[in-house]
């Protein structure tokens, strides 16, 4: 099969040219930020770093980090690096972990972001003949606008569906023969289920690929979605702070996401010490944006825990690959002193033949953390005795205990009783009041 790229020269650039390009861009970007963002200038001054100390990417480690709390501190205009009249758009985070983050874009910033999304669509096999159904939310959330713009750049027919109204999604998918689906993985799974309920088989739709991101998902969930929709499911990564989806995307190898390194530098650091870790080590992902003008974050700590790999990829792209984040340190729960990622529980559920519809409830009773996992039961597992159902709960509890090292109370509940998301899934309810 012919290898296809959206911007071949950049995507397959030899490594030494890439490093040279990154170094040149970094020197300019640091100067731009230092001169235009007083908040970051103060951070650099405090650390005793001047723009002239940054002569290339080998000096990157000298720069201070930016964290989510810096963004809260500077809300709403404090990180803006160009006059407002040069900005054409804002996007915003959902604000679930605190105050919203507002990201600003110049027209060039938008172009660059959409190029990144276009690369992801082409890598998933998209082209002018494709019908791209975008059911990420449109609006402040970056998912819809990002993939919408990328799809326009590729020249595909774009269906700007936004999220929700599953009935309508299915009608358009069938009537207009969508070939590429873009949404959150939990919504893709939900669409798959809904199609099955309506009597459709996986081969009845025209979809060939899906581009799924914006929330953590597992390899097991990927296989389930691929089977239920009859497609190849590609991962995409991004965050509002760095532009939106498309910072990294998967190619046909499906073995990690290529980071668009001509626009972003990725580092992995030790989340406790801030020390940069060598390639292949697990740590917190940090991004430096090289080309963005309006909201150019340097060394932004994503809270995502993952691994980078420079192993050559059969697709021909030279960009470093990031593994699927193992979890967000925001999502990570510490229960009875044990680190727990919801994705670990999801893996167990799928392995045990349950749907990935679950809710985790953490509480503290008599100074001891409690973990309750609510899971939907299906007809094939239903027993006609209470002992039968209790045995299922015990077996699942044991399987989760093996994975996590702590024992949860498992509660089986009727199908569809756990609220389905059409955007990001709320999987965790933490009732402990630890921060008051």
């Amino acid at each position: 099969m012919e290898k296809r790229y959206y911007q071949k020269e950049a995507e397959t650039m030899p490594l030494d040219s890439l490093r040279k390009l990154q170094s040149e861009k970094l020197v300019k970007q640091v100067k731009h930020v230092y001169e235009n963002v007083p908040y970051y200038r103060a951070l650099m001054d405090k650390k005793g770093v001047k723009p002239q100390d940054i002569r290339g990417i080998d000096d990157l480690y000298k720069l201070p980090f930016i964290t989510k709390s810096d963004l809260r501190e500077t809300y709403p205009y404090g990180m803006l690096a160009v006059p407002l009249r040069d900005c054409v758009r804002i996007q915003s985070t959902s604000g679930t972990t605190g105050k919203r983050v507002i990201a600003y874009y110049t027209q060039e910033d938008i172009e660059l972001w959409e190029d990144c999304c276009a690369r992801a669509i082409v890598a998933a096999g998209g082209g002018k003949e494709d019908v791209v159904q975008v059911c990420y939310g449109y609006g402040l959330f970056t998912g819809g606008p990002g993939l919408n713009g990328g799809s326009h750049k590729v020249g595909s027919l774009t269906l700007p569906m936004s999220s929700g109204n599953t009935e309508r999604q299915i009608q358009f998918m069938m009537d207009l023969k969508s070939t590429i689906l873009c949404c959150t993985p939990s919504y893709a799974a939900f669409i798959g289920e809904s199609l099955k309920e309506r009597g459709y088989k996986p081969e009845d739709n025209c979809l060939k690929a899906g581009i799924f991101g914006a929330e953590p998902w597992t390899e097991e969930m990927r296989r389930d979605i691929e089977k239920s929709l009859g497609i190849k499911a590609y991962d995409i990564y991004g965050l509002t702070e760095t532009s939106g989806p498309g910072v990294a995307f998967e190619c046909e190898e499906q073995s990690g996401m290529h980071i668009n390194e001509d626009h972003f530098i990725a580092e992995i650091i030790d989340p406790d010490t801030g020390e940069v870790l060598p390639e292949g080590e697990k740590g917190e992902l940090v991004f430096t944006s090289l080309d963005k003008k309006a909201f150019p974050l340097l060394r932004y700590r994503t809270r995502d825990i993952c691994v980078l790999s420079r192993k050559p990829c059969s697709c021909g792209r030279t960009f470093v690959k990031m593994a699927k984040p193992m979890g967000r340190s925001d999502d990570m729960l510490i229960i009875r002193g044990v680190n727990v990622f919801p994705s670990q529980i999801e893996t167990v559920l799928l392995n045990e033949g349950y749907t990935p519809n679950y809710m985790i409830e953490v509480d503290r009773v008599n100074n001891t953390d409690t973990l309750d996992v609510y899971v939907e039961l299906s007809a094939d597992k239903l027993s006609d005795t209470t002992e039968g159902v209790s045995a299922l709960e015990k077996a699942l509890s044991s399987a989760i205990t093996t994975m996590l090292g702590i024992r949860p109370a498992v509660h089986l509940v009727p199908p569809k009783s756990i609220v389905r998301s059409e955007g990001k899934a709320v999987r965790v309810v933490d009732k402990r009041k630890l921060h008051d």
Partner: protein, 136 residues
């Protein structure tokens, strides 16, 4: 003699059972017998109805989880010792009863008994050979 029982998963939530009975009533499902086994978190409702497959479809459509389970149904004379006779013959032949429930059969002379045995087919044969009649 093998009957289709409708087994329904009942969440321990105020009004959930009423939701189920309301759905069945709205769809003219006739309840002939029921039993419920419960724990503090959930219950298992077992129903004998006029059309179990239809009733299951009605419930599934509204997201209520259920399935069809096979049970043995026999008719007993409504007199002292009748149930004992049926259970004794099963016990003698090594068939265990997982659960059972009984209901009056419309006429005062008979009762109906629904039995879930470790081996329904064997239970059916033993009861038939012992002269028990099936539920019509």
């Amino acid at each position: 003699m093998i009957l289709k029982q409708l087994t329904v998963f009942v969440e321990n939530k105020a009004g959930y059972l009423a939701e189920i009975t309301e759905l069945l009533a709205e769809n003219s499902v006739d309840l002939k017998a029921l039993s419920i086994a419960d724990t503090k978190d959930f219950g298992i409702l077992r129903l004998i109805v006029n059309d179990p497959d239809y009733a299951l479809a009605v419930l599934n459509k509204k997201g209520v989880l259920g399935k069809i389970t096979e049970v043995v149904g026999i008719q007993l004379e409504n007199r002292t010792g009748a149930l004992d006779k049926a259970l004794s013959v099963l016990a003698k032949n090594g068939v265990n009863v997982e659960y059972l429930y009984a209901f009056l059969a419309g006429t005062p002379n008979f009762a109906h008994v629904v039995i879930k045995a470790t081996d329904n087919a064997l239970a059916e044969k033993i009861l038939k050979d012992a002269g028990f009649k099936s539920i019509n």
